[in-house]
């Protein structure tokens, strides 16, 4: 729809012009970065420059950047790769400590390892704001430190935007010599990220969440970390990941990360202001709406672009449909199974009941968001909520 109001940057972002230009330039050119001739060398140069750009932007060494097909593959490599290598070194290491609010890319890896490969998942509880408390991590490790393969806690939650205390979690885990992975897909470009300073052993980044292309991402892997590969083949990426490198996507990815990180401080400030305005106006227009997640505005509290609401008595999917029909695009914030909305595991972990977990909407702002978007949302939200409430009442009333 022309002129649609896009409030779903957490799902994917429009490409920034620099990324589009870098990518399209490479799409015109032939060359496999692994080839030895001139075309191959030219492509390899683009890949390596991109690697350096991303490393510099995220406080990593170039050799620590492992390109993948996106965030999900990077999470798979981190969780499975770390589990396998750590257990190979010591068979007692079967426990995986993961927050209960992880993205499915981490969650399902852990569950797959549990059901197929003897892993023992330890789900770290979160508080009502969606945050893992450091003492929870300490207690979980402390009960049997020798048996922990890895800790994985996302930098910031994709649904409710809660930022996790990564530095404290890393400090605790490292005091036992346990490596930590963090999925920072939502955080890059919104929060300051410095891989070296974070102390993390592995960090997941995605292209399309930061104004870059779909289908590309990276796992930043500390140099001394041993990982077992998941994708086998030509061994292109330090033998940790195989597959012909996607030069155009990598070039676009690097341009996007560079742009996102350079403009992060100013963008975060602008997004916080816009988000706070959105929250205030939604709460005024729909007084019984509930803001989920951390109400704080600091970089350690909530993603600048995230606003996640519960609308009591409404079904999220009904609200989404009504807003979509009026040109406002957002998300219910919960994962989809076969296109069917299920109550969000994130909200359930935060203590919501099933019904409250269904009646939610996530508005996520990003680099193209403006005050006009918020105006457009507020112009249609109150009537949509009223409608959805009537429909919600109908649905529950006719229940036997």
């Amino acid at each position: 729809m022309p002129g649609a109001v896009y409030l779903d940057h957490a799902a994917t972002t429009p490409m920034v012009p620099a990324a589009l230009a870098a990518m399209t330039e490479q799409l015109r050119v032939v060359g496999n970065p692994s080839s030895l001739h001139r075309a191959g060398r030219t492509a390899r140069r683009v890949v390596e420059e991109s690697r350096e750009t991303i490393a510099q932007a995220l406080g990593a060494r170039p050799s620590e950047v492992i390109f993948t097909s996106g965030g999900t593959e990077a999470d798979n490599l981190a969780v499975k790769g770390l589990f396998w290598s750590r257990r190979a070194a010591d068979p007692r290491r079967v426990r995986i400590l993961a927050s209960a609010v992880e993205h499915h890319a981490v969650l399902d890896c852990v569950e797959w390892l549990a059901s197929h490969d003897g892993a023992e998942p330890i789900w770290l509880d979160v508080d009502e704001l969606g945050r893992v408390r450091p003492e929870t991590v300490r207690a979980a490790i402390d009960s049997d430190p020798e048996s922990v393969a890895l800790v994985t806690v996302m930098w910031a939650n994709n649904e409710v935007g809660t930022v996790q205390p990564i530095a404290e979690i890393v400090a605790i885990a490292h005091s036992y010599g346990i490596p930590v992975h963090s999925d920072a897909v939502q955080a890059v470009g919104q929060l300051p990220i410095d891989f070296a300073a974070s102390g993390l052993d592995a960090l997941t980044v995605s292209g399309h969440k930061v104004g870059g292309p779909l289908g590309v991402g990276a796992l930043i892997v500390a140099r001394d970390l041993l990982l077992t590969p998941v994708m086998h083949g030509g061994g292109q990426e330090r033998d940790l990941r195989s597959g012909t490198l996607d030069t155009p996507a990598i070039a676009g990815f690097a341009a996007a990360v560079s742009d996102a990180v350079a403009s992060q401080p100013a963008r975060a400030a602008a997004l916080v202001e816009l988000r706070e305005d959105l929250v205030r106006r939604v709460m005024t227009a729909v007084p019984d709406a509930v803001l989920n997640g951390d109400p704080g505005i600091g970089a350690g509290e909530r993603l600048p672009g995230n606003a996640h609401f519960g609308f009591p008595g409404c079904e999220g999917d009904a609200l989404l449909m009504l807003l979509d029909a009026r040109g406002v695009e957002c998300s219910t914030g919960s994962a989809c199974t076969a296109g069917v909305a299920r109550p969000s595991h994130v909200l359930l972990a935060m203590g919501s009941d099933d019904e409250r977990a269904r009646g939610t909407l996530r508005f996520s702002l990003g680099h193209t968001s403006t005050e006009a978007d918020v105006d457009a949302l507020l112009a249609v939200l109150p009537s949509a909520v009223e409608r959805a409430k009537r429909a919600g009442v109908v649905s529950s009333a006719s229940r036997r």
């Binding site: 999917d317 009904a318 989404l320 449909m321 009504l322 979509d324 029909a325 076969a338 296109g339 069917v340 909305a341 299920r342 409608r387 959805a388 009537r390 429909a391 009442v393 109908v394 649905s395 006719s398 229940r399 036997r400």
Partner: protein
């Protein structure tokens, strides 16, 4: 009008939605997710509820250029249709789940939600005709007698029909398939759905056995009308009135003629069998009547249909109070199972329906 098109992923509902678009309506497609654990691929000719069907519905909506969503009604469906189906069998009746789904899901839960969300009508791929007559909206049989689905829509009230749209009633199935192909809908060649959508392997007895396993030992006797025991069975729910196969009666009937299930009684765990003639029903009592328009007054000569795909039978019906319908069949009908619907027709027009409670030979 703002129209909500229920799209199963089959050819009928896709063409119905297309026709609603052509008629100038503002159409939104919705796939109803009815299974709690959707399978990823179709099993046999099963026509709904798999991930593949949701995908087919989405692709049809893409071709039509309409918005598309999935509505999760699995819980409602499990309560109102599947559990009802199991309960009815456990009570010795023979339910029609499609009819129940129309009554409680498509034209209740879905229609109510659609109206509340600002839609004016729900459009489906059912084969029936809606005609706006001088006394209001009338529902008639489809022109294609093989596809006519007015029987399973006979439970709808005037209010429900006022917000229903059945664009396919005037077209034979072959025409609908041809139209789907002409419109570039990839599902044009998809097989028709059959049987009960939530029993993909078609093994109703096996499904009921699993659902009712908690009842423990449900075995009992198979008797004839004189009360003589002819054999035994493992559970009454495996039997339906009119059924001939699977009786496993050791001794043949004295006259050598086949025997049929006449009656199923879960309370005494007894299955009564008899000859084809003994299956003849001359009258029946229906309960929970539902009328598509005003209820008929006095004894009315009409046609009744007593099961899906059954032949219409001449009858005289009397409305008794608000919750009973007496039906005298002018010619006897065979194998009439309590739990099925008696749908009353005036020519091709659906007058209403009731649930068969008891039958008399």
């Amino acid at each position: 009008m703002r129209v909500l098109a229920a799209m199963s992923g089959g050819v009928d509902s896709a063409v119905a939605a297309a026709r609603a678009v052509d008629a100038g309506h503002d159409v939104t497609g919705v796939h109803l997710a009815l299974s709690k654990s959707p399978q990823s691929h179709r099993v046999g000719a099963r026509g709904c509820c798999t991930v593949e069907d949701a995908h087919d519905a989405r692709r049809a909506a893409d071709v039509l250029g309409i918005p598309f969503y999935v509505w999760d009604l699995a819980e409602r469906f499990a309560d109102d249709v599947v559990q009802d189906f199991v309960d009815e069998y456990a009570a010795g009746r023979t339910p029609n789940p499609c009819l129940r789904c129309n009554e409680r899901i498509k034209f209740a839960a879905v229609l109510d939600k659609a109206l509340a969300l600002g839609f004016d009508a729900v459009c489906t791929g059912h084969y029936a005709q809606l005609i706006d007559g001088p006394d209001g909206r009338e529902m008639h049989r489809a022109v294609d007698p093989d596809k006519d689905q007015s029987y399973v829509l006979g439970v709808l009230t005037a209010t429900q029909l006022a917000h229903a749209m059945f664009p396919l009633g005037d077209t034979p199935k072959s025409g609908v398939r041809a139209e789907a192909a002409r419109r570039g809908l990839a599902l044009a060649e998809k097989p028709d759905s059959h049987d009960v959508c939530f029993i993909p392997d078609g093994d109703t007895a096996g499904f009921l056995q699993r659902q009712l396993s908690s009842l423990g030992d449900v075995s009992g006797d198979i008797v004839d009308l004189s009360g003589e025991t002819l054999g035994s069975h493992d559970g009454v729910y495996a039997f339906t009135v009119g059924q001939r196969r699977g009786l496993r009666i050791g001794t043949p009937a004295s006259d050598g003629r086949p025997r049929y299930v006449l009656d199923v009684s879960p309370v005494t765990r007894t299955v009564t069998v008899g000859t084809a003639e003994e299956l003849d029903v001359h009258s029946l009592v229906g309960v929970r009547p539902r009328w598509c328009g005003p209820a008929p007054i006095g004894p009315v000569e009409c046609l009744v249909q007593l099961r899906a795909h059954g032949e219409p039978v001449p009858a005289v019906v009397r409305v008794i109070g608000s919750d009973r319908l007496d039906v005298e069949l002018t010619v006897p009908a065979r194998g009439i199972a309590p739990g099925q619907a008696v749908v009353v027709y005036d020519g091709t027009r659906v007058v209403g329906s009731a649930t068969i409670d008891t039958t008399s030979r």
